[in-house]
Every structure is written in structure tokens, then in C-alpha cells.
Symmetry: C2
Subunit: 730 residues, 2 copies
């Protein structure tokens, strides 16, 4: 196996501080800590998040993923000058996130204004073994002379979410002149958080203005490194009855930095063994992107708990307020489903546990069944903010319509339930929780559709393409609703459920639901009116894709009335349902909709890559793939400052495994139609199907599948069915 990638930041440019703080986040699914530098910079936003810790600052706003008190800051004064990379001259700067171990490190040589040279080394990791523990280490060496250093660190409760305060400080304490502890309670959700820290050197403590600090003073004889290690334990009432006590207990068991790192490293090794996708590509960037995606998909997923799910920025920033979207089911869950299906089940359990809130939402909106919130957090209630960005022409903020019309999420969840079952064959889940979700979501569609000229139509919705609002018969929505109801009937039959009136209604729905068909030009209309709207040349906006630059020239209402797509719903549909139409139709639709898509959504490109690959356009697919990989790794205009694009990272994995890897699930059957791009010599990944891990190796002219047991597994390769017992080579 090739060496797992290292993510590097090579130059010091304040424009990119927040991008790298997001990209290099350390975490473990419980905890995420932005890779802000230890010293403060005005451009840098710190962030530490515990999955599930949300709070509503006011009644009328939606919950934020709470930015917790900081433990990463080290204030360093050397010979009386406050250290920053700008207050002296820096050379030999090197910052790395080792994706293999989750360790973040920075080394540099700093020339003091007084001429002395110093070596500084900063290291940090969040333990993958002990979910609550954060280790860090700062070492200073005077390379040229003697010097004095003063280091201050502790717990900084001044952190807010962009000025919004979520935590009341309950107490700041120092125990045994060693352990610092801050206790906090969120203002509305009443979660309790305890942050407990200690450093390896004696110092003096001060508590003031929501900060608790220890200051260490040290003489630095020439060339003798002085290092301060720090351990912090983050605990909350989500998992501990008494977080403060828990913190004190855990910190007493803290190991040295190096010992704890080995422990954490071992846990990462286990992860990489199962999850890693390797590629022999002419472009090293591809492997970096795949490792980067896998690392983040792991770090963002709270596999330890099923009461909450994955936020749109994972635990890497405050963007989208940490809310959960359809992103989880459609883009993120598959990564886990086909590696460790129990983790995917936990994500579905989150939806199952909040069926009640989804039913409430449906009822409030005049529907039956379960209408999952467009955005959700801990409570499972609708959390979509009422307003989006200000409109500078009117001076007013725009209402966000997603909560009231972006209903496809209901079918997306149902789709994920079925996918989970098909991969895992988990009858226990399916018969109980899964089917409950299917029935409640199907019931929603029955009430959502209306009869018009003998057809069930679904009116006034927003599809995944948010540049086209309030349309009728969105293709993506209608097809997925059909699938939703269809699968509900299928599983009701399978588990011998009674043939009630609901069953009849479902059957009637399936008979009469309007499913848009290709028109004379072989185009599947995205909705009833889309194809009749005027077109404009999108070249200039496509160049700035991801920036929503079109909204600077046109209002949302104007965009709505043209053939302009943020992402293409029909392409998305073709991806999810590979056997719905012929290759010819797929190809025509990809061409047409691609022309009209700006790709302002980060979910767009990778899906086009998959569909392009399926219709044999590998070159185009590879270009889409590369561009999708750059969304975070080469972010422009601050797009990643508030966190990575969690779903887009899932999509990188999808476009590799489901795109070039050629995996497809059709009617519950596993298909493999690999088409590697010219740049790739070989692709290796594992894929768990029906309880067995398949190790798949793909080369331009060769396919090998290894499996561990001899239990037979059926697979279709290029349309031909094989029943594997020992494995397969083609």
C-alpha cells in the first residue's frame, strides 16, 4: 500500500489561514478542532466542536453547532516580543497534517527582531483512541544565543459563533495547582460542557474575562529545546452525567504526548486498513484527494452516538451552523455503508429517532406521514434559517424557501434506508425501524401529491437544484417519491404486513404518479416549465463556479425564470437510478444539462463525473473528478473558510468507487462496470457487500476481487453475472 498522504501548507498567506484551518482540522467524530495556528491572527477563526452540541441563541433563530472554549491557543513571548509569524522573519516554514495519524505539526525558524534565531515546533492531535482527549506540544529552541521565553495557554471561553454567545460560564477552577477546568452550560439547550486542561510545566494561574490561563516562564540556554505539553479533556452532558468529574478522572489518566500519539495512531491504522482507496495515477493529487476525503469523512462522522448526524461542514467550522441536510444520506452515508455498514445504520437511526419531529413538521404543513426537516440539528426539528444573505438592491434579506418546499429529502432518506438494506441485508433493522421510515415517508408523498387530469402530480417544490424554486413535477422529486412508495410496498409485502387501505393508496399512487419521460429531443424535463424558459450564455459564470457570481448580476427571481442550474437534478436522478433510461438518453441529458449547469453547488461535479463515466466519456469524467477534488483542496474566494464541504468529500469517494470503479446497485444487485481514466493505472478499494468485505483491484485490462470467506456472492461484471466464492479475476 502506498504511503498515506500528507497534506501540506507551504506558504504563509493570511488569505488562506482559514482555508487551511478547515482542511487540517483534527478530530475523531466526537470532537473537531480547526487547525488554527497556536498564536492568534486577526484573519483566523478558531473552532472546536463536539458533535451534537447545538444551541439556539434566541428563540427565533435556528441552532448553531456551538464553538466551544478554545484550548489550542499558545501565547508565546520571546525576549519580550510576542511571537507571530509576522513579528519576526520566518524561514523553513513547514506545516503538515499527516492523514495517516491525524497529527498536525508545524516547524519554522523565527528570527527575532533582536537578531536571535529560534526554532519553533508545534504539534497537536485529537486522540482517535480516547475520544475526549486533545494533546498538543510546543517546543522552542534558541539556536543562536541564550534567551527567555514566556508561554501562556489555558482555556479561553471568549469563543463565540461569529459573535453569538452560546455558553454561560458556570465556573473556572484550578485543582491541585495543576488541572484547570472551565464548566459551561449552553443557554437554551442546557447542555453542560467541561473543559479540563493541564500543562507539563509549572506556572502561575490567572482567571479573568472568561479565560483561565497558566503562564510558564523559562530561561532558554542556547540550543536547549524547551517544550510544554498540554492535554485537554472535553466532556459534555451528552455522554457524561457529570462532565466536570469525568474530565478530572480522564485527565489523571493522561499519557505523555508521544505515548498517546502511538495509541491514536493505532486506531487510525485500523481505519485506513479498511477504508483506504488507492490509485496509481499520473497525478499524485488524486491520491491526496482520496486520502483527504476519507480522513475527513471519518473525522466528521459521530459513529459513537446515533442521536445526531453529520453536519454540512462536519466538525470543521461554523458554516451552515453545523446542520444536517440530505447530504448525509445521499453523499456521506455510502462511504460508511460499503465499509462499515453499522455506521451507516447509526446515521439512519438518527432519522428514525426523529420521526416524531418529522411527523410534526408534516402535520404543521398540512401533510400526513413524515416530512424530514430540510436542515436539522439535535432536536430533529426544522432548523433552516428563515433568511439568507441580504439583497443589496432591496436592502432586504431573502427568505429561504427550502424548509417549506425542498421535500425531496423525504425520499432521499427512504432511498438510504433501502440502500442500507440492500448492502447489509439487515432484516432486523429493516423490519422494525427501516419499514417504519418507509411507511411514514410514503404516507407523506400520498398526501403531498394531488390528482390532476387523472395523474398524481407534485406541485410547488424545490429540487436539489436550488436555482429553480417552486416548480411542478420536478423529475428528481417525482421519481424518488415513486421509488419511496414502491419500496414501501415491497417491504410491507416482504414482511407480511396487512393489506390495509394504505396499501391500496400506495398502489394507486404508483399507478398514477406522473413520471416525466424523455421528450422528442430525448430530454427529460427537469420540471414542467424548465425547458421552455429562456437560456443565456453561462460561460462566464461557469468560470467562477462555486462562487454564485450569477447572483451579483441577476436576482434569484430572475435566475428562477431562466435555464440556469446550480446543479442538475436530472443528472442526479440518472446517477441514483442507473437503469432508468438507456445510455443514449443518459448521454443526451448529461450533455444538455451540463451546458446549463454552473456547478455553483459543491455536490454537482462529482455526480456528473459518475454519469459521464457510465456513458463512456472517461476524459470528461476525469476532468469533473479533478475539479470536484479541488473544491476544498484548492478552494478560492474563501469557500472553505467556514469548513470543508462534507458532502463533496463523500462525492469524491462516490465518483471513484461508483464512477471509475463502476460500482452500481440495480434492483438490489451488485454491478461492476469499471472504466478507469487514461491517467490511472490501477485502482484498489474495498467494498462490503452482504456482510463480506470485497477487496477490489482494477487495472485498465484487469479486474481482481478477493474475498475472505467462501460464502457465495453474486456480482454482475460488464453485465455478466458471476457467483463468487473464493474471488474473481477477469
Amino acid at each position: 500500500m502506498s504511503k498515506i498522504s500528507v497534506l501540506r501548507e507551504t506558504k504563509i498567506d493570511a488569505h488562506y489561514f482559514n482555508m487551511y484551518a478547515s482542511l487540517m482540522t483534527t478530530g475523531n467524530g466526537y470532537l473537531g478542532i480547526r487547525a488554527s495556528f497556536e498564536e492568534d491572527y486577526p484573519e483566523q477563526t478558531r473552532g472546536m466542536f463536539v458533535a451534537g452540541i447545538y444551541n439556539k441563541a434566541q428563540e427565533q433563530v435556528s441552532s448553531d453547532l456551538v464553538n466551544l472554549p478554545d484550548v489550542t491557543k499558545f501565547w508565546i513571548e520571546i525576549d519580550g516580543v510576542i511571537f507571530s509569524m509576522f513579528s519576526g522573519q520566518v524561514s523553513e516554514f513547514r506545516r503538515e497534517l499527516d492523514l495517516a495519524t491525524g497529527e498536525l505539526s508545524r516547524e519554522l525558524v523565527w528570527k527575532h527582531p533582536n537578531g536571535k534565531q529560534f526554532g519553533l515546533c508545534f504539534k497537536r492531535f485529537v486522540s482517535k483512541k480516547k475520544l475526549h482527549m486533545v494533546y498538543s506540544k510546543v517546543a522552542v529552541t534558541c539556536l543562536s544565543d541564550d534567551a527567555t521565553v514566556r508561554i501562556r495557554t489555558g482555556i479561553d471561553g471568549q469563543q463565540t459563533n461569529f459573535g453569538t454567545q452560546h455558553l454561560v460560564e458556570d465556573s473556572l477552577r484550578v485543582f491541585s495547582e495543576t488541572w484547570m477546568q472551565g464548566e459551561y452550560t449552553t443557554t437554551q439547550s442546557k447542555q453542560r460542557i467541561a473543559v479540563t486542561s493541564m500543562v507539563s510545566q509549572p506556572g502561575s494561574f490567572v482567571a479573568k474575562n472568561r479565560q483561565l490561563h497558566v503562564t510558564v516562564n523559562q530561561e532558554l540556554p542556547k540550543e536547549q529545546p524547551f517544550s510544554v505539553e498540554k492535554v485537554s479533556v472535553i466532556a459534555t452532558s451528552l455522554e457524561a452525567e457529570n462532565p466536570a468529574e469525568f474530565g478530572l478522572l480522564q485527565i489523571r489518566e493522561a499519557k505523555s504526548y508521544d505515548e498517546a500519539l502511538i495509541e491514536s495512531q493505532n486506531a487510525w491504522e485500523k481505519f485506513w486498513r479498511d477504508y483506504r482507496v488507492t490509485v496509481s495515477s499520473k497525478n499524485d493529487f488524486d491520491q491526496l484527494a482520496l486520502d483527504f476525503a476519507a480522513y475527513h469523512l471519518e473525522v466528521m462522522t459521530p459513529s459513537h452516538d446515533e442521536r445526531f448526524s453529520v453536519g454540512a461542514k462536519g466538525l470543521t467550522g461554523e458554516g451552515y451552523k453545523g446542520h444536517v441536510f440530505w447530504d448525509t444520506e445521499i453523499f456521506i452515508a455510502p462511504f460508511h455503508l460499503y465499509n462499515h455498514p453499522e455506521k451507516a445504520r447509526k446515521l439512519l437511526r438518527y432519522r428514525y429517532l426523529h420521526l416524531e419531529q418529522a411527523r410534526d413538521k408534516a402535520a404543521k404543513n398540512g401533510y400526513q406521514g413524515a416530512l424530514f426537516p430540510w436542515e436539522s440539528a439535535f432536536s430533529g426539528e426544522e432548523e433552516t434559517p428563515e433568511f439568507a444573505a441580504i439583497n443589496v438592491r432591496t436592502g432586504k434579506r431573502q427568505k429561504v424557501a427550502s424548509a417549506i418546499a425542498e421535500h425531496h429529502i423525504v425520499a432521499d432518506v427512504a432511498h438510504a434506508v433501502v440502500s442500507y438494506y440492500e448492502a447489509s441485508q439487515d432484516e432486523l433493522f429493516m423490519e422494525n425501524e427501516g419499514l417504519k421510515i418507509l411507511q411514514d415517508t410514503a404516507r407523506f408523498w400520498l398526501s403531498r401529491a394531488v390528482l390532476r387530469d387523472g395523474k398524481y402530480v407534485i406541485l410547488d417544490v424545490i429540487g436539489p437544484d436550488e436555482y429553480t424554486e417552486h416548480v411542478d413535477n420536478n423529475a428528481y422529486t417525482n421519481y424518488l417519491a415513486h421509488e419511496n412508495v414502491y419500496q414501501t410496498l415491497r417491504f410491507m409485502s416482504k414482511y407480511g404486513q396487512k393489506h390495509t387501505a394504505f396499501y391500496d393508496l400506495c398502489e394507486a399512487f404508483l399507478r398514477k404518479i406522473y413520471l416525466p419521460q424523455p421528450n422528442a429531443d430525448k430530454l427529460i424535463p427537469q420540471d414542467d416549465t424548465f425547458l421552455s424558459k429562456p437560456e443565456i450564455d453561462l460561460a462566464v459564470y461557469k468560470e467562477k463556479q462555486g462562487s454564485q457570481a450569477i447572483l451579483l448580476d441577476y436576482s434569484r427571481a430572475e435566475v428562477n425564470e431562466m435555464q440556469i442550474l446550480k446543479q442538475a437534478d436530472v443528472v442526479m436522478l440518472l446517477y441514483l437510478m442507473p437503469n432508468l433510461f438507456s445510455q443514449d438518453i443518459v448521454s443526451h441529458n448529461l450533455d444538455y444539462y451540463e451546458q446549463h449547469t454552473i456547478h455553483d453547488s459543491s455536490l454537482s461535479k462529482a455526480i456528473h463525473a459518475i454519469v459521464a463515466n457510465r456513458v463512456g466519456q472517461q476524459d470528461l469524467a476525469y476532468r469533473f473528478f479533478e475539479e470536484a477534488c479541488r473544491i476544498d483542496l484548492e478552494a478560492t474566494s474563501g469557500g472553505t473558510d467556514e469548513g470543508v464541504h462534507a458532502a463533496s468529500l463523500g462525492a469524491i469517494w462516490l465518483s471513484t468507487v461508483f464512477g471509475f470503479g463502476g460500482i452500481a446497485i440495480m434492483d438490489g444487485e451488485l454491478h461492476l462496470n469499471p472504466r478507469l481514466p487514461a491517467e490511472w493505472e490501477r485502482l484498489d478499494f474495498s467494498f462490503v457487500w452482504h456482510g463480506e468485505r470485497l477487496e477490489i483491484t482494477l487495472e485498465q485490462e484487469h479486474i481482481a476481487i478477493r474475498k475472505q470467506s467462501t460464502a457465495p456472492i453474486s456480482i454482475h461484471v460488464f453485465g455478466k453475472e458471476y457467483c463468487m466464492t473464493a474471488g474473481l479475476e477477469i
Copy 2:
């Protein structure tokens, strides 16, 4: 008249950024804006405060003076590099606060990492003419080449009080693509604030994360300065029914920077004409200190409104949460009283308007009459925080006892009432509001004192010296309580009030109150036990005065049991009551208590200067005076970071006018016993007495008093009474 001083910051050292941000605050009594640099630095705390805008973030904590959304920040990018004084090389740095005009300016030459040279100039003032208006101006010139600049500024609602959020954002708007406006409401006090800003150059607007910004892009041809002017209007529900409307109205009337500056400058000229104290000293520093003090005393005082008073840091920072202490009546009010007595009356009206809350506090504590809160804000209720800093030995926070025992504030307010009357002869105020305060405060003392062995004693108090808590018969307290009751009777008689039971109780109190007398060593005991406590050598702590370094070696409880003073209560008493004891007694007590005083309080030194001067120790007095002047101007260990020491600035004026100037008020009569220090050739100040402004010039061997009318005024000079009609020369 000599030129009014300019306060200068000459070097760029991040350790002093917050000190200068406090010292160079611009303001006008309505508004105070810390002199943070336009660009952000991690070490720099911004602050904008409107007098009277307080908020309690939680039920159980006390009110904060709210740190309002910022309008001072300018983010500047030059040729792609974010400007900071550390991101390029700075030369010719000059920053000044012109005390004559209240204008803050900064100029510097900045060498871009690409080698180009830029001239930058920043200016700012808060209008003294239009209280709500803030003007600023940024000019950039490329000195060596062509370049491009991008400037972003607006309204930043991410400001908090050290992480505590007080404002809910109600709306962010842009009107007519010109006026930006943010509307906010405080979470608990429900004050509404509108911040309205505009800039002089066209740009594009963005609102996000509690910030509303305009970005201006500009090409910079060589040597052509590009400048952006900005006007902001700050309005609140304290003075406007609809602050947002008010803001839009005012900003339409905004003038150009230069025009508005002239208007404001005129208002400052008027101030300086009346208030300025000039001195011909061997040390230029003395004049700077006097101008600095006068400037800040004006800027901190909300003369436009009587519903609130002066906070312990004025409007210069978040220190002491903006709370009002005895500092106002004893240290700050005299500056106004003897210049513009109507301003002093307003400060007393604040107390009068909150008699109800003071009566409530007395009742809650089991007393009668009015017990003014030790700390107060807008509501007039007790606002002293329950806890002070953490004790690192126990890990616990210390309870603050001042609210329950530091009762001298009651008599301090009464003293200020009488002083006001004596100076102003304002019978209308005195007969109505003043006497009401006197009676309610006297009633408090009657209930507060207890009979022991036939004497009224006052037990378990804290005097001004907060290093000695919970003592009996604190000399300062007992004497001032006596004075309080005595004056109450005097004015009840004067205004012919009925001879009630209350009158008898007062008389009995005056007969029996225990007033500590000098002992065999001529020492007036600070309290019943002080003189019997052990002494330690304080030399090492006196060297670090102001830092409370003693609390690092001793607990508060230990300090309490030794003869260790933060400030000397007996010296304070001798200052306030100049004719209580003979010079010999005064001299002995000054010597003794000075030895035991660390001067960890900023209120201490200047008072010692006055008393030293009265007993003929001018050299010592001058040393004390100089040290008092340095408290803010040469602050160490961050002492001024959270704001200037408002009372200590009042004390600088006192020690000049009442110290070297020799002013004393005894039995309502004006005395003048000037004793200039050897370093001073001449001292000029004006003093308003009985409605007439006396222009007093003092030289080593010469006294001249000019007055404008011929109305006779009596004055005692060196003990000899003169009746002035036209003036006086001695």
C-alpha cells in the same frame, strides 16, 4: 495660553496596543470609542460604548456597559497583501491624539513585501458638536509605483464583552446602495441601538455573520492619494424613539470630514477655555498630564443626560463593567462642580433618581433610609459582581464583600450634595432633591449604627481601603456618617423643616457617635483593631504599586490581619475634612499611614499629594503627584488596558487645584493656601464659586484672582479673609 498637549504613541509594541487604545479614546460623553488601530491585531480589544447602554447577559450576573458593534475597522489589502504593521516594514510611524480637538491620527510609511512603498494616513474623531457622529478617513498613497488597493469597512456586530454577547441583531440593511445600517436590541435591558454608516466611495456590499461591509477596489497611480471617508451615526432608544430612523436622518446631514472636524473643534475650544489648567513646569509631562486628565474627564461624563453617571473607566473600556462607584462623587464630580456646576448637579440627579433602589437595598439589608449600591449602572440597583478573581490556591473565586459592607458610599454621596450646594448656592436643588438625599442617607446611618457602652458605633464595614475588610469603627466611615447627619440637620433647619422624631434621633446620633481620636502617638486609628495588627516590610510591594502583587504572596484573609493598606482611609479623611485636626496631627498621620500604604489603588497617590502639600511637604507632594499622573500615562502590567482610571484622572485635577493650588472648602467658605512645588513657576486655573468664574494665577511669590462681575465674593488667603469685588492680587 500654552498649546494644548498632544498625546503621542511613538513605537509599535503590541504590549501597549490596549493601553494606547484606552488612553487615546475619542469621545464626547455620549459615546466613547477606543483607539484601536483600523486594522485588527490579536492583542487589540476594540470597544465602542454609549453612556447608559448596559445589559445583564444572564440573570445572576451584573450589568455590563455594552461593547457595541464596531465601525472603526478598515481591512486594507494592498497588491494582494493584507495590511498590518507587521505584514510589511513600517517607518515614520506617528500616532497622536490631539487633545485640543479630540482628533486621533496615524501616519506611517509601509514597505510592501513586493518592495513598493506606501504612505498611509488614518484619522478619526467623535464629534463634540453632534454627539452621535463618528468621522473617519483612511488615505493610501503608493509612493514608488502603481498599485491596487482594496478597502473593506462597515458595521461589525461580532463585538462582545470578552465573549459575552449583549446584542441581538434585528436587521442589517443597505439603503439606496449608500447607507448601511445595523439594528440591535440588548438581550435583557431591551435597549435598541442603530448603527448607520456610509463611505465616500462606491463599493459592493455584503452582509454575513453579524457583519455588514462595503468593499472598495481602487487602482493607485503613483503618488496619487486615494482616500475613503466614513461617517457613522450611533443612536439608541435612550434618546430616540426610533433609533434607526434617527440614524438615517442624521447621516443624510453628514458633513465632509474636514467640515465636521471644524465644527467639533469649536466645541472643544469652548471646553478648554473654561476647564484648562495650565502650569509652567520644568517637566513638560505635568502639562500633558493635566490636559490628558481634563480631556478624559470631559469625554467620560454624560452631561447630556442625568439617568446615568460616570463609569470607573469612563467610556474607554470594559473594565469594572462600566459601573459607577463612589469615584464619581468624590473624585470626578469636583472637576465639573468648580467649572460647570450644572454638570455636577446632573451627576447628583442620577443618585436622586435612584433613591428608590437605594431604599430597597437598605430594606433588603435590614436598614432604613437609602443605601446606595457599591456599584451601579442604569437601573440604580446593586451591580457589584458576586465574585472576584479566582484564588489559585483554593481554586475558588473570592466573594466580593463591598456590596454588603462598603457603606461609606452613602456618606460620600451626601458629602457631594453639600459640596454642590456650597459651591453653587443652588437652593432649589438643595431644598428639594438635595435634602431628600441627605435625609434618606442620614436615616440609613441612624439604623446602621448600634449603641455600645453609650456610644453609637458602626460595626463590620469596609472603608475605602479594601485590604481591610469587616472592621469596626472605620475612621473614614464614622466621620463621614457624622458629617452626613450633621448636614442633614443643618439643612432641615435652614429650610424650616418640622422638628420630628427623626430630628431628635439625628441629634442623639451626633452626640453619641464614636469619632476615633488621635492616640498617645497622635495617630487616628483607621479602625478599632488596625493599629494593633502586625506590620511587615512593604518595600517590595510598594515598588510594584498598583499591581496588587501582595496578593500573590498572601491571601486576602492574611492581608486583612496585617497593617497593610491599599489606600489610606485616614489620609482620605484628612483630605476631605481639612480642618478636623491640627497640622501636627495631620503630618504624623500622613507619615505613619504612608509607610503602611502600598498604593495598590489608583485613588491613593494623588490624595497623599494634597495632604502632603497641606503640611508643607511640597517635595513629597510633587513626587506623589508625578506618580499619580503616571498611573495611566505610563501604565505597567496592562493596568490601563481595560480603560483609563477615571477617578485617578479626577484626582490629578484635585491634587493640582486642591493640592498645589491650595483650594480648600471649610465650613462652606473658600480658602486658598497655594504652595507650588519648586518645579513650577506658575499655575493658572479657573474656579467657579457662587456663580462666578474666578481666574486664578499662582506664582511662587504672587497670587492673582480675576473675576468678571463686581459681585462680592469672600475668600480666605493664607487664613486672611478678603472680600473680592474686582479681583485680587497678593
